[in-house]
Structures are given as structure tokens and as C-alpha cells.
Symmetry: D2
Subunit: 350 residues, 4 copies
């Protein structure tokens, strides 16, 4: 019953096997390994983007921020949702990587940027010329921090607003596969065909040990990206082990298979919660995260049964009135079993 985060799950066995296979003999370092050639070809193929620049990094923060630093100069601002990971969970990494750009926070339900609010925020930025921080880039996250998924049409709408102001569009796809299987779109439809310029294609939260790909659909920033990655200490010498993970991930649609499982378990969990008297969902469950409201009594039972998940926001407590409603986040992964879900629901139910 481990719903704390998908990053608490182990690595998929096929990925471990790939690592073992990659461990034969010598390999040239720093991305010059032959497996990286395959990764590049595979990603270009899956994304129908033969010119795209493709890079691997080991963490989502570094992947997002290296990309953003290529897209947004230091004196500009990145428009993102108030709850975006780049704003809330990266300890100022965007500011560090960009050399001091700002993040302009835009609201919207379920952590999806509201297009009208985005348009307003952009048009109200930089009106004072040189005195103001300039318009830099737009960054969206799908699935969002609240488990919602942007439809292709929604991405297109955001992109239209960004393009109207010549702003590049970045997508934080830490859980990209979960969004992809939720929308039934193709990778290309969900990215460059909808107007996305750069995407972080996450693997770590979906069964890898620690690999994220960054895809720059327009390769004009490719060399700059390589220099920024190196300078940030994110160019791995034994790069083959990143390559091997990503290649296994994409092979035979393993990434989609894992994401489908995780999403299905989240759907099961949501349905179960809705059937509980007094419980409700705080956000629609569109990918693998479930945000629910239930009583402290239910929380106490789940906790006693050993369930791991976060009260969200953090300042809620096990102690207090039984009937008070608490908010919780449960994240499923490809390792979550139907039995885990059932056991958790039973505990909640009491």
C-alpha cells in the first residue's frame, strides 16, 4: 500500500535486464555510446521528429531547467501554473539555471493553466519596456500536479496564446506516458503538432532508475543545451546506463504498458473512494494520481493499516476531530496491484 509517490517504486525488471546487458565490456562515455544512437533514433521515430535534438539527464529538475534556460533569457519570465513543479518543488532551480529569470504564476483549475488567465498575464507583462521583466516562455505540466491531463486541444490553445507573443512552449512531462495513454494521442500530436517546442519525457516516475529525455523539436538550441547540461554537471560519463534504461523503456511500448497499469489502478482507486460514504475526489482522476477528501477517522484507519501517502497540503494532522475532512494524494505506479487498492479501500472504509 505504497501510494506516497510513483518515485518510491522499484525499477521494472526489463529495465534491470537492459542495464545488465549494457554492462558488457567497454563503451565510449558522455553520450557517445552506441545505445544512445538507438535511443535517438527511437525517440525521433516515436515522435515523428527526424530533426529533433534528444538528450538524456538523470533528474526531472535538471531536464526541465536546462531546457527552460535555453528558451528563456535571464531578464524574462516563465509563465507557469501556481502549482507547477518548477515553481513549487525545485528549490529555485529554474532561477539558478536561467541565471535569474522570474516565474509568473497563472491560475487554473486542477493545476491546468487557464488560457484566459495566461493571455492576461502575458499581455500584462513587459508593458513598461526596459523597466520590466520581459516575456520569456510558457511551461505546462501534463499530467498536472493535481493529476489532470491536458487534452490535445487544450495544449493547442495554450500554444496559440504563446505563439501570438512569440513565446516558446515547454512541457514538463515528468509523467508524459501517463498523459499520453490518457489522451490516446500520439507523441507527436501531444507535442510538436500541438505547438510544444521542448518536452521533458520522464522515465524515473514510471519504472526507470533515473532517466529523463529532453526533446528539442527545433534543434537550434542543441549545442547550447549540451553546454548547459555539461556545465550543470549533468553530462554522465557512463552514459550507456542512461541510454540502456531509456531504450528498454521505449522498446515494445513498455512505457505505455506501465503507464496504462498505473492509470488503471488510479481509476480503480478513485471509483472505490467515490463509493465511500462522505469521501469525494478533489480533482478528476485523469492519470495516475488521486486527490481525495475523506475523514480523519478513515485516514487513521488507513495509516494504521500501513498505507503510505501524503496529506496534501502538509499541514494536516493525524490528530484531531474524527469527522474532520482531510485532503490526501495517492499516486499509483505500474507496481500498484489491484490487491493494494482493495486493501487500501478496505482500510479507509473501516
Amino acid at each position: 500500500m505504497f501510494f506516497a509517490s510513483d518515485n518510491t517504486s522499484p525499477v521494472h525488471p526489463r529495465v534491470m535486464e537492459a542495464l545488465t546487458r549494457a554492462n558488457e565490456g567497454y563503451a565510449m562515455p558522455y553520450g557517445n555510446d552506441p545505445i544512445m544512437e538507438e535511443v535517438r533514433a527511437t525517440i525521433r521515430d516515436r515522435f515523428e521528429a527526424p530533426e529533433a535534438a534528444v538528450y538524456l539527464l538523470a533528474t526531472g529538475t535538471s531536464a526541465n531547467c536546462t531546457a527552460l534556460a535555453c528558451l528563456c533569457p535571464p531578464w524574462a519570465t516563465i509563465f507557469c501554473h501556481t502549482n507547477a513543479h518548477v515553481e513549487e518543488d525545485e528549490c529555485g532551480a529554474p532561477e539558478f539555471y536561467t541565471g535569474g529569470s522570474k516565474l509568473t504564476l497563472v491560475g487554473g483549475e486542477h493545476a491546468r493553466i487557464d488560457p484566459a488567465k495566461l493571455a492576461h498575464a502575458i499581455s500584462h507583462t513587459g508593458r513598461g519596456g526596459v523597466h520590466n521583466v520581459q516575456r520569456g516562455a510558457v511551461s505546462i505540466t501534463s499530467p498536472t500536479e493535481n493529476g489532470a491531463v491536458y487534452s490535445v486541444a487544450q495544449i493547442e490553445e495554450i500554444a496559440r496564446i504563446a505563439k501570438a507573443h512569440d513565446l516558446p512552449l515547454h512541457m514538463d512531462g515528468a509523467r508524459f506516458a501517463n498523459a499520453l495513454v490518457a489522451t490516446n494521442a500520439s507523441p507527436a500530436e501531444m507535442t510538436w503538432k500541438a505547438g510544444v517546442d521542448a518536452v521533458t519525457l520522464g522515465g524515473t516516475k514510471n519504472g526507470l532508475m533515473g532517466v529523463e529525455a529532453v526533446i528539442l523539436f527545433n534543434p537550434k538550441h542543441a549545442w547550447e543545451f549540451e553546454l548547459r547540461r555539461k556545465r550543470a554537471g549533468h553530462l554522465f560519463s557512463k552514459h550507456r546506463y542512461l541510454s540502456a534504461q531509456m531504450q528498454a523503456y521505449l522498446q515494445d511500448d513498455l512505457w505505455l504498458e506501465m503507464a496504462r497499469t498505473a492509470n488503471a489502478r488510479a481509476a480503480d482507486l478513485s471509483a472505490g473512494i467515490l463509493s465511500l460514504s462522505g469521501a469525494s475526489l478533489l480533482h478528476p482522476t485523469e492519470a495516475n494520481s488521486v486527490f481525495a477528501s475523506f475523514t480523519r477517522a478513515a485516514h487513521r484507519r488507513a495509516h494504521a493499516a500501513g498505507a503510505k501517502y501524503y496529506l496534501w497540503p502538509f499541514d494536516q494532522s493525524l490528530d484531531g476531530d474524527d469527522e474532520e475532512m482531510l485532503s490526501a494524494r495517492m499516486v499509483c505506479s505500474s507496481c500498484t496491484t489491484e490487491a493494494n487498492v482493495d486493501e487500501f479501500l478496505s482500510a479507509l472504509r473501516g
Copy 2:
């Protein structure tokens, strides 16, 4: 015959097994995994430093530069050797991490800092008060970029000069184990007992997949280090896989065993080269790197036989006069076999 770098070698089987073992079930992320508890205890024990702050990162550049950023403010300078990795091979990462500090280059044979030159450089820095970059930190590398190893006495001498100016001393130990077995010192003797304040204990070049420990003997910068690591995107969510590698590395002295093998092969290779007519060593072979001079004809033969290594500096060529002397760097690892060395020497010999 792969002598290009120790980072081209595979991961040691015992490390792969540790990764597989670590892959069981769920684990808390971001360094809160139970294996990290063991790593911390093991390192504190091996280094006789019960108060030390211990962190894991995946690359040497990030390990060095996060530590240096804690030690040196943006308006100060880091005294290092002209050929130091932080100067020559990190694409300005120290400047990026520190927020713009300078590196003051100090000479010395075999890439060891010459103490007299260091004393001179420090005393000639910052004499103009606020107009000048200030004195920040001293950074040494052992083994050096030329394969030399600082004796404990040499480290103590550098530390004395640094301390006389209240400067912290950082050691880039990308190949720490190779230096350790070369000196026969204990980890404590080679670090804090000699005056080192922070050390990067490398694992990647010595049989790991990608892990370096940073040890801060004085933990006053511990929280700052954690924030800087996070902000640079180097706090791993699935941290258990870093922990597992480092724990296996230190277990049963695997790190020392691998380093001894690598150093022994380098010694064999050096002895063989010295026996070749016209060939010579450019630097004493004190750890696992060999710097040698031999004819282009010898180089052509080795190259034809499939040997991989770098001409060092890079601007030398396969083409040209047969008898011209070229400079080459050969790095041995724990995977280098006696047969590899013999085959290489045969090819050189012709």
C-alpha cells in the same frame, strides 16, 4: 585494450548485484532510503569522522562544484592547479555553481600544486581590498590529472598554507581510492587529519555506474549543501540506487581492491613502456594513469591493433613523421587485464 579512460569500464558485478537487491519493493525517495543510513555510517566509520555530513551525487562535476560553492563566495577565487579538472574539464561548472567565482591557476610538476607557488598566488590575491577578487578556497586533486599522487605530507603542506590564510581546503578525489592505496594512508590521514575540509570521494571511475560521495568534515555547511544540491537538480528521487552502489563499493573493501588492480596494471604498463627503446614516461606513474612518450610509428601500430587511448594534448595526429615523438595517456581500471597490457605493449613494440 581500452585505455581511453576508466570511465569506459563496466560496473563491477558486485555493484550490479547490489542494485538488483536494492530493487526490491518500495523505498522512500530523496535520500531517505534505509541504505543511505548504512552509507552514512560506513563512510563516517571508514573516515573516523562521526560528525561528517555525507551526500551522494551522480557526477564528479556536480560533487566538486556543490562543495566548492559552499566553501567559496561569488566574489572570491579558488586556487587550483592549471590542469585541474575543475578548470579544464567542467565547462565552467565551478563558476556556474558558485555564482561567478574565479579560479586562480597555480603551477607545479605533474599537476601537483607547488606549495611555494600557491603561497605566492594567495599572498598576491586581494591585496587591493574591495577592488579585487578575494581569497576563497584551495582545491587539490589526488591523483592529479597527470597521474601523480599527493603524499600525506604534501597535503599537509598545502593545508598549512591554506589555513594560514583561513582558506578551506577541498580535495577532488575522483580517483580517491587509487590515491589511497598508492599512499597506504588511511582515509582520515589523507583527508581531515591532513587538513582537508571537504572531499569528493569518487566511485564512477572505479567500478560504479555513477556515484560520488561528498564528505564535509565540518558539517556547518550541511544544510546549504542540501539546498544547493537540490537546486542544481542533483537530489535523486530514486536515491536508493545511488546508496546501493556506494554501499557495495565500500563493503569488504571492494573500492580498494579495484583501485589496487588498476594501479597494478598501470605499473605493469609503465614498466613495459620503459623497456621500449625510445619510449619514456612523461610523469611518474603513481596511480592508474600512464603518461608516455613514444614514436608515431609505435602509435600507429597500437592504433592498428585496436588500442584505444588519447593522444594528450589532443592536437597530435596519426599522420606525420614516423620517428616524431607523441604524447599519450593510458588509463587502467579494475577491468584491465595483464593480457590487455601485454597485447598493448606488443603492439607498441612492433
Copy 3:
């Protein structure tokens, strides 16, 4: 009828005379001029702060940001009002000077920080430990960007909240003298006695050519401030001309006299506007800025009569419906005459 900004006004004749006097003979550079000794003594005396560190810079942006960089580390955030100059009018200078800290925007009427909102923002920052940007500093502006003035009690309340979280309190006093004469407080009461740790004491908008003092009541950051100022290119070689301006400013209460005149003209202007049919004040006039709402027809008449001021926000226009209400900002300075005010009111009135 120049109400565009107080920075469009000329320099007071007594300041010009001081510059002429300072222009005799040679003087040591970089703040080692004898007039700076006087400035330091005068400011310490006026602020009853014998230990304070006192520095001069030529622009408000550099003064604010050098101080903030001493108070807030790169991984932390500065709590300020949504409309603060540091947020809206410095093109990201705080981010540049601090090395990438964030600004957390807090609401409040008339651009005064609402204490409850500040308390909420602080308590909701950094709850996720190392994952989050940390709490850094609080910055207030008095008079605010909307012409309101913090009372001493209001400053004390903000300071209490900041101190409860161990946060330093910075005051942007670009129009400090205007606030001082409005509150009738002493400089000490309005600053360190109320809990302010560092203040920018502006001169440029109040009759100087270009000088701002920064006063650090706790001198522990003094040397760091000097290094940051130099490194930002704000240590003037011919510093005596900054010193001479500031000394003339403080001499015989010239600063207060100029501020009183400017505030009085703003009061006259406000009273006049309130007497116009259909016009109103958008913010109370507490210092030397007037924010008013009047019809486009009135604006057209004022514009035709040659009055200079800004429609605020900028996206309003001379063209459109006569009866539509526009928002405007008029700033008075010590050069504003009663005749200027009357002429402007006549033009508005039509």
C-alpha cells in the same frame, strides 16, 4: 505641469552649490573622500545609529538589490507587495543581484503589504523542506507605489511577523523623506526602532542628481555589501560627488523641506481633484503621489494644456469615449508650484 515623476525634476540649487564646492582640488577616490566621513556621521546621528554601516550608490535599483542580496540567499524568497518596485520596475535586478532568489508577491490595499497575507505567505513557504525555495527576507516600500505611507505601527506589525520567522526586514525608501514628514516619526522610529534592518534612503527623486544611501543597522553584512557594490560596478571612483549631494541633502533639513513641499502640493492637487465633479481618488494621498480617476474628456483637456503624467496602468488611451473613466498618476516634487497645480486643475475642469 510636469507630474510624470519626481525624477523629472531638476537638482536643488543648494545641491548644485555643494557639487561646485566639492569640485575643488584633488580627493581620494572610492569613498575615501573627507565628505563621506561627514555623511556617515550625519546619517548615524540623524538615525541615532552609531554602529550603522552607511553606503552611497547612484540608483535606487542598485541600492535596493545590493542590500537584498546581503539579506537573502539565492535559494530563498523575498516577500514583497505585488506592486513593489523590486518586482515591477527593476527588470529582474533582485534576481540578478541575489543570484536567483525568488520574489513572493503579497497583496494589500494601496500597495501596503497586508499583515495577515504576509503571515500566510511566509507560513506557506518552505514547508516541503529542501524541495522548496526557503524563506529569505521581507521588503516593504514606504511611501508605497500607490502613494500610501506605512505608519510606524504598521511597520512594527510587519516586522513582528518577519522576526517571528527570523527574517530580516528591508525598506525601499526611494521616497523616504516623503514618508518621514508624512508620519512625523523620527528616522529611527521609522526604521530600526520599528524593526527595519536595512533601508534605502533615496535622494534622487527628492532633489538630488542621483544618490541613494543604504543604511545597514546591523553592520554584520558591511564587508559583503562593499564587495557586492564593487562587483556590480556601483563603487564610484569620484565618490566625492555622491558624498557632496547627500551631505547637502541632510544639511539644515533640506531633505525634509523638499519632501514637505512635494507632499503639500500633492495634498492640494488631491483636494482639487475631489472637488471636480465625477473625479475621485483611487488611493489616499499620503505623500507626494496622487492616483485619481477622471473622464477621458478631462484627460484630453489636461493633455492639450501640456500636462505630463502617466495613465496608470499604461493600456489606457487618449482615444475613446469621452465619459469613460481613466486612471492617472500624478507625482509632485519640491519643484511643483501652487500655480502648476492650479493650472492642471483648471485644465481638468475644462
Copy 4:
């Protein structure tokens, strides 16, 4: 007898008059004053550069570093002389403004970059691809920190080497006028016609209160320069006072007249020193600085007579052996009189 630096001299009376004239009435701020229009036209005319972007800043450090930040990305290096002001006297401002670029130090007599050493340094930079700091820009200073002046042919030679590697060439012209009258070249010949892309045209050391112009001959970085200047706090609100100084400076060749006087006094001083028994010049006197060697006894006499100048380097002392030779720097300005020179020589002579 004030030879400490030309920045200890007062402002020329014609400049003070211009400031007084500029002090009439209101003026639009931030460079939108009408005098700036004249300055721009005058500089474009004098430099025969009708397209050049022209900006004013108040300090040499900010002028140099804002320009360099436009020319050199954070991951690159600026090739400059070991004794360049940007290296030795700006407390890391280039690193701060550029976001962490490096300075690669190149030797050469009299602080002039040796072309062969520059070519070597450039060709040895960045050979390791992404691992290395990249080639960024070349920066020269004329007159140099040792008082030497680059001939037009010497600038052309440096430019040829820079252009061969596509590197922009920056000139720190803190004493530009002194170099200009020394070479008898036109401003265009000494800058863009010789291959200079951006120049700092200093005024502060040559009779102004604090103004430097930056001229970007290729205006492609113009907007970026404006943003960087603002963000660094160097866009002056009461900009007219910078404009007025620069306009008076260029009017009726005042800048050249002052520089000629300063250079002539330095020539007199050098001739006098050469006539002293045992004294010698350490560098040729080509502009307004004199570097000389004389005995401690002579130094003591000059000091006792009230002469102000720096022993250079700083670690020499009034105390010690009478006959020991000391090194000193004496800087003349347009205020230095023949009597000052004679008096100083008499004192030295004893």
C-alpha cells in the same frame, strides 16, 4: 603633487557649466532627455558610425561588463591581459555580469596582449568540445594598465586573430582619449575600422564626474544591452546629467584637449625621471601614466614633500634600505601642472 590616479582630479569647469545648464526645468528620465539625442549624434559623427548603438553609464566597471556580457556567453571565456582592469580591479564583475564566464589571461609586455600568445591561448581553448569552456571574446585595454598604447596596426593584428576564430573584440577605453591623441588616429581608425566591435569610451578619468559611453558598432546587441544595463541598476533616472557631461566632453574637442595636457605632463615627468641618476622607466610612457623605478631614499623625499602616488605593486614600503629600488606609478591628468611635475622631480632628486 597628486599623482595617485587621474580619478582624484576634479571635474573640468566646462563640464560643471554644462551640468548647471542641464539643470533647468524638467526632463524626461532614463535616457529620453534631449541632450542624449545630441550625445548619440555626436558620438556617431565622431566615430563615423551612423548605426552604432550608444549608451551612457556612470562607471567603467559597469560599462565594460555590460558590454562583455552581451559578447560572451556564460560558458565561454574572455581573453584579456593578465593585468587587465577586468581581471585585476573589478572584484569579479565580469563573472557577475556574464553569469560566470571565465577570463583567460594572456601575457605581453607593458600589459599589451602579445599576439602570438593570444593566438596560442585561443587555439588551446575549447579543444575538448563540450567539456571545456568555449571561446568567447577578446578584450584589450588602451592605454594599458602599464601606460602603453596600442597602435592601430597592433589593434588590427589582435582583431585579425579574434576574427579568425569569430570572436568579438572589446576595447576597455577607460582612458580612450589619452590613447587617441597618442596615436593620432581617428576614433574610427582606432576602433571599428581596426576591428573593434564594442568600446568603452571613458570620461571619468579625464575630467568628468562619472560617465562612460559604450559604443556597440554592430547594434544587434542593443536591446540586450539596454536590458542588462537596467537589470544591473545602471539606467539612470536623471539621465540628463550623464548626457550633459558627455556632450560637454566631446564639444569643441575638450576630451582631446584634456588628454593632450595629461599626456604632455606624463612626458615631462618621464623625461625628468630619466635625467635622475639611478632612476629609470619600467614601461614606456605613451599616455598619461608613468611607471618608474627609483630609490627608497628618493621615494622618502617625495613622500615627505607631500607627493601622492602608489608604490606598484603594493607590497613595497617606506621602510628599509635607502638604496633599494622601488617601483612607482604616477598618473597625470589635465589638472597636472608643469609646476606639479617640477616640484615632484625636485623632491625625488633631493
